[in-house]
Symmetry: C2
Subunit: 110 residues, 2 copies
Amino acid sequence: MIHDEHKDIVSHTKEKMPPTDTLFELADFFKVFGDSTRIRIMCALFEQELNVCCIADIVGMEQSTVSHQLRVLRQENLVKVRREGKQSYYSLEDEHIQKIFEMGLEHILE
Amino acid sequence: MIHDEHKDIVSHTKEKMPPTDTLFELADFFKVFGDSTRIRIMCALFEQELNVCCIADIVGMEQSTVSHQLRVLRQENLVKVRREGKQSYYSLEDEHIQKIFEMGLEHILE
DNA sequence: TTATCATATGAATATTTGTTCATATGTTCA
DNA sequence: TGAACATATGAACAAATATTCATATGATAA
């Protein structure tokens, strides 16, 4: 049970927080960064666009695995695709992603 | 199989990428942000330190659930604890966290 | 059209993860 | 010391997730 002297803080905090739906969306967004395969795919795309089999080679996983994960990245608007003949070239959607990536790196390298 | 014209790009990308272990660590770090309960706990702590039962009330989950998740946050150095009598007061470890949080928010609110 | 290559997708499986219940630990106060 | 409270933790369970295999789809060139 909450102590009387804390009741104000609790209700104040509840008011100040973003809407719950927003926080759920935010969690879903970060969930995408929370997998090593996806992180490595995104990292590979920092340099330039790449097609699926190049990505698979770089991260050392099956083409199928990579395709599945690229779909996840697409669904959260983190990458976009460009078709060229038989190949699909993937690239990052925006630079936010690299920024977030770098802030994470900073944190763990402390 | 990788086309000849892509071989250079692939090896160049592999060289430029951070070590695989680092990327695995990074994924583990972001994994912590990828759960709505933990996101809401962190968000509650932006304002001020809070004890466990206040946090449980704010996020509307069991005390036990919150304790388990606070342990996860502690293990990744995202929060710190201060004991005061029977209570444990949790607060954020640094401001990185709020920055990352805000960048994520920016992205999803686009 | 048919063969071949690049990518996407469905189903199955194994693993990870979050939550709960029950209980242990630690702290204060009578 | 013992009762009451706050928090932590172990075990069990349910749900979510990543990967693989097999195969479908889409595109090119012979």
